[in-house]
């Protein structure tokens, strides 16, 4: 069937999105809807001495003003990994932008005006606004870390808090000291990765309606079931009394993973007893969640012939004032730190650190993006010192399928050598380079899949059309199209007869989350199984109707065929029920089953992160021009190759932004480029001259048909490739992003060193 897997079916939501018919949370109109606005702290760290809301509350049009005193009947703390965050600041603010009050009014302008009438008296506290400050001995403490409470979905083992460190994670293998003793080449360096904003076109938007003892929430969230669980716990409700409905999302990239603006909106609606909408602006989204800035020290040892033997890594990630997904990011970064090589020994010590900055959470390919450029630049440096070609050193040292990646984890399930060779081919590796041009590549792994728990229902109705009920969030990645194709493949049904509505926790069944590249593999497997159940029922009914064995029936194009005789699905269902009504229902689930072990024993699969770049350097200005970007999507089996390539391009462009210019700049906890006027995201003008995306389909994934997830890897692979391409021209950098000024400074330093060395000119 031409609409099943492997085909470039047009997106099922393309038409409604380009015509503006598609509904996003912000488009919804509810009767009596109020508009909420949030008062945010101007201080990085301060005591709240007094809040007076009288003037705000008496402004005509204001319905409710919410402060922490309205939360005294509940336990107002949440946080899926660590329950450290009050829904509104209580007695103390910990970052610039922290919500401490909210207003619900008849219109947005009134709500905003009311915010300016709230009087707050602060008492400034010493702040720890950088990693260095937070880790110093006399650092002000953000939380009482010895009494941290684990969140509902932490799955992290021991937290091991210490001072401002809320989570420590380490992995190791072999005798590190012994391995370094054998090393003939050692590379050691400190590195810095900046804070980055996961720009999504639609900032966080939530509508909440509180009715009696239940609440309905329309939210731009990636993980409706995890938000449901946190809201149910916060407001002490049965989970079924919290209904989360997820319309289309205007991009997520991790910024809408877990719980964000939902608790405040629900609390405001609970007080106002009317539906309330809160829609973040971009400047508010930036202080709602961001990517961790990081400091990292790495040491790699090798034999003289380039055989990699030992790596030692220490890394500190700035998770801001509340943990958010920081502990998971730190654990994933630790997983990515060794890189996919055959070490005699490695050791990684990773720390999640509280600071007085906005909280950090998930962003596409987290952890891997942070570490891969560092590890891969050390591999290239060793190659240079050993006189080995960068491609050869990787072929020499890369893990092969079936080898252990990290102790206790899943063995390697991908052909990395093949992937690297594809990158090299696409870059014309080894061919002569124009002046001031460099080529580089990067390879790594990302622990993907999150918890493998997903369910799905397929309903085939009386007219033979099918509805796929699955809670994966369509956030632009194309999940509704992919689920349609997977159902189409099993049901032998044209795609226009398949409907995939959005997630609704009253209707669509449990799915752990939409992230970690998991949906096609895991929710897709649930859909595949649910559709297969319906397929089985169709075959059985047809076998009765035709009075032949099951094997004699073929399902094709929405009908059951026996030779040249056919019965449409609609006719089969009517035959089965003996009535002009009825439907077939299939259910599918995915679970780790008897595996009671921790998440740490995963991952579901290793997502391959490979990238290649060719760059040209303007020595006068330090500007890099990207002439070529290459990505390889090692996907097992592509359901929709065009959609995979579109995701590769998106991830590559975000990788380009992370590598070249994206950075949230802070001064004493205050963000200096807190709007899109000053914070630059990649645009079409930043596109490389050429973009090449190669698909690898080895059917080696855990999903149906050997599918494995994709869409994140290029974001980690591209910065590594660009950094190495620049080093290929002779410019080494240890801090991202590679702004022209930073590259120019590095060039000047390299030239000064060169001159000092007295080399002949």
């Amino acid at each position: 069937m031409s609409e099943g897997i492997g085909h470039n079916v047009p997106r099922v939501d393309a038409r409604s999105k380009v015509t503006g018919e598609a509904i996003f949370t912000g488009d919804l109109k509810l009767s009596g809807l109020l508009h909420g606005k949030v008062l945010r702290s101007p201080y990085p760290h301060a005591l709240i001495r007094r809040i007076n809301t009288d003037r705000a509350a008496s402004l005509p049009g204001v319905v409710s003003v919410l402060t922490s005193t309205d939360l005294e009947d509940i336990d107002p703390y949440y946080g899926h990994s660590i329950k450290d965050r009050p829904l509104l600041a209580i007695d103390r603010v910990r970052f610039v932008g922290e919500p401490l009050a909210a207003v619900a009014a008849e219109d947005e302008v009134t709500a905003e005006q009311a915010l300016s009438l709230i009087e707050v008296e602060y008492e400034d506290l010493p702040a720890a606004t950088t990693l260095e400050e937070a880790l110093s001995d006399d650092a002000p403490r953000l939380h009482e870390t010895d009494t941290l409470r684990p969140g509902l979905f932490h799955g992290l083992g021991e937290l091991n808090p210490d001072g401002n460190i809320c989570y420590q994670h380490s992995i190791h293998r072999g005798d590190l000291a012994e391995a370094f003793k054998q090393a003939e080449i050692i590379v050691e360096q400190e590195y810095t990765f900046p804070a980055v904003y996961q720009y999504a076109m639609e900032p966080h938007t939530v509508i909440a309606a509180w009715e009696g003892k239940s609440v309905t929430v329309w939210a731009s969230c990636q993980h409706p079931y995890l938000v449901r669980a946190e809201l149910a716990e916060l407001f002490d409700l049965p989970v079924a009394s919290v209904r989360i409905i997820v319309p289309f999302l205007g991009g997520g990239f991790g910024s809408k993973s877990y719980t964000k603006m939902e608790p405040i909106t629900v609390a405001l609606a609970r007080k106002a007893r009317r539906p309330v909408r809160i829609a973040n602006r971009v400047d508010e989204a930036m202080v709602t969640t961001r990517r961790h800035n990081m400091r990292c020290w790495m040491r790699t040892g090798a034999l003289a012939d380039g055989t990699l033997i030992a790596r030692h890594v220490r890394l500190w990630m700035d998770t801001g004032a509340y943990a958010d997904n920081g502990p998971r990011v730190v654990a994933t970064a630790a997983d990515a730190a060794p890189g996919p090589y055959r070490w005699k020994s490695f050791q990684v010590e990773a720390y999640c650190v509280y600071t007085n900055r906005p909280p950090s959470g998930s962003y596409r390919a987290f952890g891997a993006t942070h570490l891969q450029w560092i590890g891969e630049s050390q591999v290239d440096e060793i190659a240079r010192q050993a006189g080995v070609d960068p491609v050869d050193i990787r072929i020499q040292n890369l893990l092969r399928p079936g080898e252990e990646v990290r102790p206790g984890g899943k063995a390697l399930d991908a052909d990395l050598v093949g992937d690297v060779q594809k990158i090299a081919d696409a870059l014309d590796w080894g061919s002569p380079k124009p002046p001031d041009t460099g080529r580089g590549l990067g390879v790594g792994l990302l622990a993907a899949g999150a918890r493998p728990v997903s369910t799905a229902i397929v309903r085939m109705e009386i007219d033979g059309h099918a509805t796929v009920l699955v809670s994966s969030t369509e956030m632009g990645q194309g999940v509704r199209t992919v689920m349609s194709q997977l159902a189409s493949q099993e049901l032998a049904l044209p795609i226009e007869h398949i409907r995939v509505p959005g997630g609704d926790t009253w209707i669509t069944p449990y799915d752990r989350s939409t992230g970690a590249s998991r949906s096609t593999t895991l929710a897709g497997m649930a859909v595949h199984r649910a559709a297969r159940e319906v397929r089985q029922q169709l075959l059985e009914i047809a076998s009765q109707a035709f009075e032949v064995a099951l094997e004699a029936i073929e399902l094709r194009d929405g009908a059951a065929w026996r030779g040249d005789q056919s019965l449409s699905y609609s006719e089969l269902i009517q035959f089965h029920f003996g009535f002009t009504g009825g439907e077939l229902i299939g259910r599918g689930e995915v679970s780790p089953g008897g595996n009671k072990g921790s998440y740490a024993e995963g991952p579901v699969f290793w997502e391959v992160c490979v990238g290649g770049a060719e760059v040209r350097l303007d020595r006068d200005t330090g500007r890099l021009h990207i002439t070529k970007l290459v990505s390889v999507a090692d996907v097992g089996q592509a359901v929709n190759p065009d959609l995979v390539k579109a995701q590769e391009m998106g991830a590559s462009m975000q990788g380009l932004g992370n590598a070249l210019f994206e950075e949230m700049i802070f001064d004493e906890g205050q963000i200096l480029n807190g709007t899109l006027l000053d914070y630059h995201i990649p645009t079409t003008e930043d596109m490389p001259d050429q973009f090449i995306s190669r698909l690898v389909e080895n059917e080696d994934g855990p999903g149906p048909y050997g599918i494995k997830g994709a869409g994140e890897g290029a974001l980690a692979g591209v910065p590594a490739a660009i950094v190495n391409a620049l080093a290929d021209i002779g410019v080494q950098v240890t801090e991202l992003p590679l702004t022209p000024e930073r590259v120019w400074q590095a060039l000047r330093e390299a030239e000064a060193e060169h001159d000092d060395g007295g080399s002949p000119s």
Partner: protein
């Protein structure tokens, strides 16, 4: 969030001036809106009254003066208008060239030359170009009319000589002489340039008779690099010391450290761009094509 405002739609410059005088600091002129609406949406400024001058006829005209010696540009001419106007392309191709590179397509489609100059955002292509070019600006109010050289118009960051009740009604660009050639260079990583350089060279019999060199976007307002100009005046085009001139321009540029970059780096950009602009202008002069 855009707070509510009242929009006024005058039919004449005089009416607009009266409105501006009446509302004072509560009013702003609305033309292309590319800068104004941005700062209003970001809450960086609020004007309860906007005076939309697009309802005044004739302010977007682009024409050659009766004497044929200058280009007269209405403030409402958009960047696109100027990039595409046959008159501009014929008589001031350098302006068309610069306009084709301003910001991005969306800004070029609606942003106006008058708005660009009056907003006085330091990262402006046109302020630098017009300073080198020696343009003059006509300002009108209900009471009077005056003409200012471009050099006296921009006073600082977001600050111009325009009085609150005045409207920029015309930009006058003298046509360049037959033996004058110009070039413009900028460095930008995003929409707004981090450094801009405009160079005009008048060359006669292989000798640089006059130089006009303007440097902008690195400090609060564009400046003329007069020492560099003095150095080059009288030099032969073949033996011109463009590198030294670029060095002088870099020293004179007085950049400030900000989010765009350090003063050191901006000086480097000025150095590089000045040398490039001078080389290109001299190449054009030698090619005897009038690129002004």
């Amino acid at each position: 969030m855009l707070r509510p405002f009242e929009i006024h739609e005058p039919g004449t410059v005089e009416e607009a001036s009266v409105l501006l005088a009446r509302f004072g600091i509560d009013a702003a002129i609305y033309a292309g809106g590319t800068e104004l609406l941005l700062i209003m949406k970001e809450g960086l400024a609020h004007f309860p009254h906007l005076v939309n001058i697009k309802t005044i006829p004739g302010l977007d005209e682009i024409a050659l003066s009766a004497e044929g010696d200058e280009l007269q540009i209405g403030p409402l001419a958009t960047h696109w208008d100027l990039e595409r106007s046959p008159t501009v392309r014929k008589h001031a191709p350098l302006l068309a060239e610069v306009e084709s590179q301003v910001a991005n397509t969306r800004v070029r489609a609606v942003g106006t030359i008058g708005g660009n100059l009056c907003f006085a955002e330091p990262h402006s292509d046109l302020a630098t170009l017009l300073l080198a070019w020696g343009a003059t600006l006509e300002l009108s109010s209900s009471e009077a009319q005056r003409v200012l050289p471009a050099a006296d118009f921009t006073l600082g960051l977001f600050e111009t000589a325009r009085q609150p009740n005045e409207i920029l009604t015309r930009i006058r660009l003298p046509l360049l002489s037959e033996n004058t050639a110009g070039a413009y260079r900028k460095f930008s990583t995003h929409e707004r340039p981090m450094a801009t350089v405009a160079a005009l060279l008048e060359v006669k019999d292989g000798i640089i008779e006059d130089v006009r060199l303007a440097v902008g976007s690195v400090g609060p307002l564009p400046i003329r690099a007069s020492e560099a100009e003095a150095l080059l005046r009288g030099q032969s085009i073949e033996g011109a010391t463009f590198a030294s001139a670029a060095e002088l321009a870099a020293s004179a540029s007085d950049p400030m450290d900000d989010l765009h970059g350090s003063a050191d780096y901006k000086r480097q950009l000025v150095r590089v761009l000045t040398a490039q602009a001078l080389m290109e202008a001299s190449g054009r002069a030698a090619g005897e094509t009038n690129e002004g």
